[in-house]
């Protein structure tokens, strides 16, 4: 029988349950969309597992991470769920000092998703992976009936190599360290809230979604004694500060007037009564850097794309232990606690 190379392959415009059933339609979907986008991973793609020589890890430590991505809308200003899925996992690797080696891509698709959308997402993943210097080596495709998922969910897992001489960890943070960020707060969350449309807001905001590897490498070169780096995602910068403080038994003290904030992010925050400290980012990291290396770190970051707005937002102090505190531009102090759940828009 004809294996069906050539023109046919993807019939119709949209994914159906057949494309997740393990048969030829699924193979076609994978070949036509994912393998075409991700390039020659055919050999590993056809075995059940990708295989990687240990040399790729250069004798260091292996870093391993995963995230699932469930964003609505799946295309938004500044990115899409595919770019997000690659950047998110890459960033979780690089903030540990790892160089990303390989990613997986596992999608759960609601039947009816347009091939064109899937194609765009896959292309976007490939582009982001290339930018991040790693490959997507294996994956999985599931299709669920209408109403059993919201268009598409993407999971990525990633492995990376941490050079032997690096040991970034929140527990290394100590009083006196500077707290720096590479960019302005909350751009991703604010852009997505506006893009969703249900709040009736429009703006020119773009998600800050980007791979952070180059910035992290630049930071580590300029400030080799950097204690810890973490990307702020859900829960925003406030959550990272709390994690830093809890892991190191210190207090992260930031200054409100130092927080870099775009006007539109402020606008959305004011309209909805949200605190930008808790709004999600996807291309922002917080780093704890010894005070002496801070200027060098900031200078290095500011030279690079995605680091132009780098600045110090605060410093690490001894007490109150395990807490994040903010000095308002007004001089008063307040605790920056972790939120219980998500921030809800409010009227009062």
């Amino acid at each position: 029988m004809d294996d069906g190379g050539g023109a046919r392959r993807l019939r119709g415009d949209a994914v159906t349950l057949a494309h997740g059933a393990g048969g030829r339609a699924m193979r076609d979907l994978i070949d036509e969309i994912f393998l075409k986008a991700f390039g020659e991973t055919r050999v590993s793609g056809l075995e059940d597992q990708a295989r990687l020589a240990l040399d790729a890890f250069g004798g260091g430590t292996l870093a391993f991470t995963t995230d699932s991505f469930v964003i609505d809308p799946i295309f938004f200003p500044g990115g899409d769920i595919g770019k997000l899925a690659v950047c998110g996992t890459v960033n979780d690797l690089v903030v540990g000092g790892a160089k990303p080696v390989a990613l997986t891509c596992s999608v759960i698709i609601e039947e009816g998703l347009a091939f064109a959308d899937l194609h765009r997402i896959a292309e976007s993943m490939a582009t982001a992976a290339a930018e991040a210097g790693c490959r997507i080596v294996t994956g999985d495709t599931k299709v669920v009936p209408r109403g059993a998922a919201d268009r598409i969910f993407v999971n990525t897992a990633g492995i990376g190599a941490i050079p032997a001489d690096r040991s970034l960890a929140a527990r290394h943070i100590r009083p006196g360290d500077a707290l720096i960020v590479n960019t302005t707060l909350g751009e991703h969350g604010a852009a997505v809230m506006a893009a969703r449309g249900d709040l009736g807001l429009t703006s020119a905001l773009q998600s800050d979604c980007r791979p952070l590897g180059e910035l992290v490498e630049a930071l580590l070169e300029a400030a080799p004694d950097t204690r810890a780096i973490r990307d702020a995602t859900r829960g925003g910068v406030a959550t990272v500060l709390n994690e830093f403080a809890a892991a190191s038994g210190t207090c992260c003290r930031i200054a409100e007037d130092k927080l870099p904030l775009r006007e539109e992010v402020r606008g959305i925050s004011e309209i909805l009564g949200l605190d930008p400290l808790y709004i999600a980012c996807e291309g922002l990291f917080v780093a704890a850097v010894p005070q002496a290396q801070t200027e060098a770190a900031l200078a290095a970051l500011r030279k690079r794309s995605g680091g132009e707005a780098a600045c110090q937002i605060g410093e690490v102090v001894a007490t109150p232990q395990g807490r994040a505190v903010m000095t308002s531009f007004f001089g008063g102090d307040r605790l920056v606690d972790m939120l219980e759940g998500e921030q809800l828009p409010r009227i009062c």
């Binding site: 506006a194 009736g200 429009t202 703006s203 539109e264 004011e270 309209i271 009227i347 009062c348």
Partner: protein, 92 residues
Amino acid sequence: MCLGIPGRIIEITDAEKYLAVVDVSGVRRKVNVACIAETDALDELIGAWVLLHVGFAMSVIDEAEAARTLEVLDELGEVQDELTAMRESAQP
């Protein structure tokens, strides 16, 4: 009690339904201006700064009053400055 923020009316989209677009730091939203529509000539509102609450413009912000309040604040400060100056000059 009631979150209210300043924004600027940039467009009237449906005069009959009192609908306008307000800009808050570059973010835009459709709002109802029935409470501040003193005449039917809604276009006069374009450019006005208003106080927004739950999608309604509830008050046109009075620029002169705002200036006056700031003046008072400045005076409070100036008096303070004078006092400080006095105190300093009073010291030996």
